[in-house]
C-alpha cells in the first residue's frame, strides 16, 4: 500500500510540474514563442523523433560521453589505487593533480578546441577532464579507507603486497570507486553538453544551441529534457550496477 502511494506521488510530481509550466504559459509571463507550452514541446518531440534527428544527436552524444568516461575511469581508477597505496606515487602525483583539479572543466574548452579542433575529440577530452577527478579522488579515498585489520588478517595468511592489493584493497575500495563513477558520469555529461554547445556540429548540446539561434524554442526544450532524462538514466543504471556489485553490503 505504502509503495503504491509513493509511486503515485512520483507521478504526481511530474504532472504538477507540467501543470505549473502550462499555467505560466497561460499567464503569458513569456510570449509563447519563447516559452512553448507542454503540448508544443510534445509535438516537437514527436516530429524530431520521427525524422530521426533526435536519435542521431542522442547517439553521438552518448558515444562521446561513453568514450570520455571510459578513458577517465581507465586512468582514474588505476592511478587512484596507486596514489592511495603507495606514498611514492602519492608524492609524485598529488602536487600536480592538486593544481590542475581546481580548473573548472569549462575553462578547458578554449585550449581543447585549439588542440583537438571541433567535434568528437575536444568533447571527449572535456568529458575526460570532468569525470576524471571525481573518479580519481573517490578511488584514493576508498584505498585509504581499507580496514587495517583486514590487511593484517590476510598478511597473517601469508599474503604478499600484490595479494593484499588484489584481494583486499581493491575489492574494499569498490563502493567508493562506484560512487566516484556515478559522480563522474554526471559531471562528464554536463561537460559534454557544454563542449557541444561551443565546439561541435552535432550532439544534444549542439541541437539546443542551434535551435535557440533560430528561435525554435520547443525544439530547444526537447533537447534540454532529453539531456536531463539521459543524465537521470545513466545515474540510475550505475546505481543498479552498484546494488548488484555490492550485494554483500550491510
Amino acid at each position: 500500500m505504502k509503495a503504491v502511494t509513493h509511486r503515485h506521488l512520483r507521478i504526481l510530481s511530474v504532472v504538477l510540474a507540467v501543470l505549473v509550466w502550462q499555467v505560466i504559459g497561460w499567464l503569458g509571463v513569456f510570449p509563447r514563442h519563447l516559452l512553448p507550452w507542454p503540448t508544443s514541446v510534445l509535438t516537437s518531440l514527436i516530429s524530431l523523433s520521427a525524422s530521426g534527428e533526435l536519435a542521431s544527436h542522442v547517439l553521438i552524444s552518448l558515444t562521446r560521453v561513453v568514450a570520455g568516461f571510459i578513458i577517465a575511469a581507465g586512468i582514474g581508477i588505476p592511478l587512484g589505487i596507486a596514489i592511495g597505496w603507495s606514498k611514492i606515487a602519492e608524492s609524485l602525483a598529488e602536487p600536480v593533480l592538486e593544481i590542475v583539479r581546481p580548473i573548472p572543466p569549462i575553462a578547458w574548452i578554449p585550449i581543447a578546441m585549439l588542440w583537438f579542433g571541433l567535434g568528437f575529440k575536444p568533447a571527449v577530452f572535456l568529458i575526460f577532464i570532468g569525470a576524471f577527478f571525481p573518479i580519481l579522488l573517490n578511488t584514493v579515498a576508498g584505498v585509504r579507507g581499507t580496514s587495517k585489520v583486514l590487511v593484517e588478517a590476510v598478511r597473517t595468511l601469508g599474503a604478499s603486497d600484490r595479494d593484499t592489493l588484489v584481494k583486499v584493497v581493491t575489492p574494499s575500495s569498490v563502493p567508493s570507486i562506484v560512487a566516484g563513477l556515478r559522480i563522474g558520469v554526471g559531471v562528464g555529461w554536463m561537460c559534454l553538453v557544454a563542449a557541444e554547445m561551443t565546439g561541435a556540429g552535432s550532439g544534444l548540446g549542439y541541437m539546443v544551441i542551434y535551435y535557440s539561434g533560430i528561435l525554435e524554442t520547443s525544439n530547444v526544450m526537447v533537447g534540454m529534457l532529453v539531456i536531463g532524462a539521459i543524465g537521470y538514466a545513466m545515474s540510475y543504471a550505475i546505481e543498479k550496477v552498484e546494488d548488484h556489485l555490492l550485494r554483500w553490503r550491510e
Binding site: 574494499s172 555490492l246 554483500w248
Partner: protein, 259 residues
C-alpha cells in the same frame, strides 16, 4: 612439532610527536609454549598482551629479543602462524567458503583441493549449510567460527587468538569456549590465547601466563592440572581463579597507583 619460544622480548613504541613520550610496552618477556599446548595470556588491560601476540604473528617487530618457532627465528607474518582477531576480520564481500579458502588461494592451491579443505573446516566449526552466506548474515559467534576455520585452512603450526570472544555475549562466549576446546582436541594445534577474563583462561588453558602491569613482563606462570571439561563451580576451579585474580589485582593496583 610446534614449540614457540619467546626470548627476552622488549618493545618500545616510539613517540610520534614532540609532546608524546616513548611507551615501553614489554620488558624482557620470556616464556616457552610446548607442542600442542594451550596457553592463555592474561594481564591488566592495556599491559601489552595483544602486542606479544602481534609480535609472534609478525605484525609487529620487537625492539629487542627474538621469537623462535621450532628453533627458527620468526620474521614477518607467515602461514605457519594463524591469527584470529577479536574483530573477526572477515572479508565482507566473500562468502563463508570464500573467506575460509583465502589462505590456500593465496598459496596457489588448486580449486578442488581448496574446496575440500574449506568443506572439512566449515564442518569442523559447525557451519554446514552456511557456506554461501555473507558475513553480514552471520551472528558474532558464527563469524568467529569462520575466522577460526580460515586461520586453520593454512594448516598453521600455531594458532594465535587475540581476545577472540571479547565482543560476544556471555552465553555465546561459553559456547565458543567449548567449541574452541573441541577444535583444539581434533587438530592438536599449539594455541596461544589472549584474554582479559581470568575465568576464561582457567576454563581453557593448560597453562596461564600472567603478565605484570606496563611495561609487561611475566609475573607468574600457572599450570592447570584439572582435567577437562572443567566445572566452573568446582572448588579447585574457584580457588585457581581467585588465586590468579588476586595476583592480577596487585598489578591493576600498581597501575592505578602509577597513573
Amino acid at each position: 612439532m610446534a614449540v614457540i619460544e619467546l626470548r627476552e622480548i622488549s618493545k618500545v613504541f616510539s613517540a610520534t610527536s614532540r609532546n608524546e613520550k616513548d611507551v615501553e610496552a614489554l620488558r624482557r618477556v620470556s616464556f616457552t609454549v610446548k607442542d600442542g599446548e594451550f596457553v592463555c595470556i592474561v594481564g591488566p588491560s592495556g599491559c601489552g598482551k595483544t602486542t606479544i601476540l602481534r609480535i609472534i604473528a609478525g605484525l609487529e617487530e620487537s625492539t629487542s629479543g627474538s621469537v623462535l618457532l621450532d628453533g627458527t627465528m620468526v620474521a614477518g607474518p607467515g602461514p605457519d602462524r594463524g591469527m584470529v582477531f577479536q574483530e573477526y576480520a572477515l572479508l565482507p564481500w566473500r562468502t563463508v567458503v570464500g573467506n575460509v579458502q583465502l589462505g590456500p588461494e593465496i598459496h596457489g592451491v588448486d580449486s578442488e583441493t581448496r574446496r575440500k579443505i574449506a568443506d572439512y573446516l566449515v564442518g569442523l566449526v559447525g557451519l554446514h549449510g552456511f557456506e554461501n552466506k555473507y558475513p553480514r548474515e552471520l551472528s558474532g559467534g558464527m563469524k568467529q567460527r569462520v575466522a577460526i576455520a580460515r586461520s586453520l585452512a593454512n594448516d598453521p603450526k600455531v594458532l594465535l587468538m587475540d581476545e577472540p570472544f571479547g565482543s560476544l555475549d556471555a552465553q555465546t562466549r561459553t559456547m565458543m569456549q567449548d567449541e574452541v576446546l573441541g577444535i583444539w582436541g581434533k587438530t592438536k594445534k599449539t594455541v596461544i590465547f589472549v584474554t582479559h577474563s581470568v575465568e576464561e583462561a582457567v576454563y581453557l588453558a593448560d597453562r596461564i601466563v600472567l603478565l605484570t602491569a606496563r611495561p609487561a613482563s611475566v609475573k607468574e606462570s600457572y599450570d592447570m592440572r584439572t582435567s577437562r571439561p572443567r566445572n566452573r563451580l568446582h572448588h579447585e576451579f574457584v580457588e585457581m581463579r581467585s588465586k590468579i585474580l588476586t595476583a592480577l589485582s596487585e598489578e591493576v593496583g600498581r597501575e592505578n597507583w602509577r597513573a
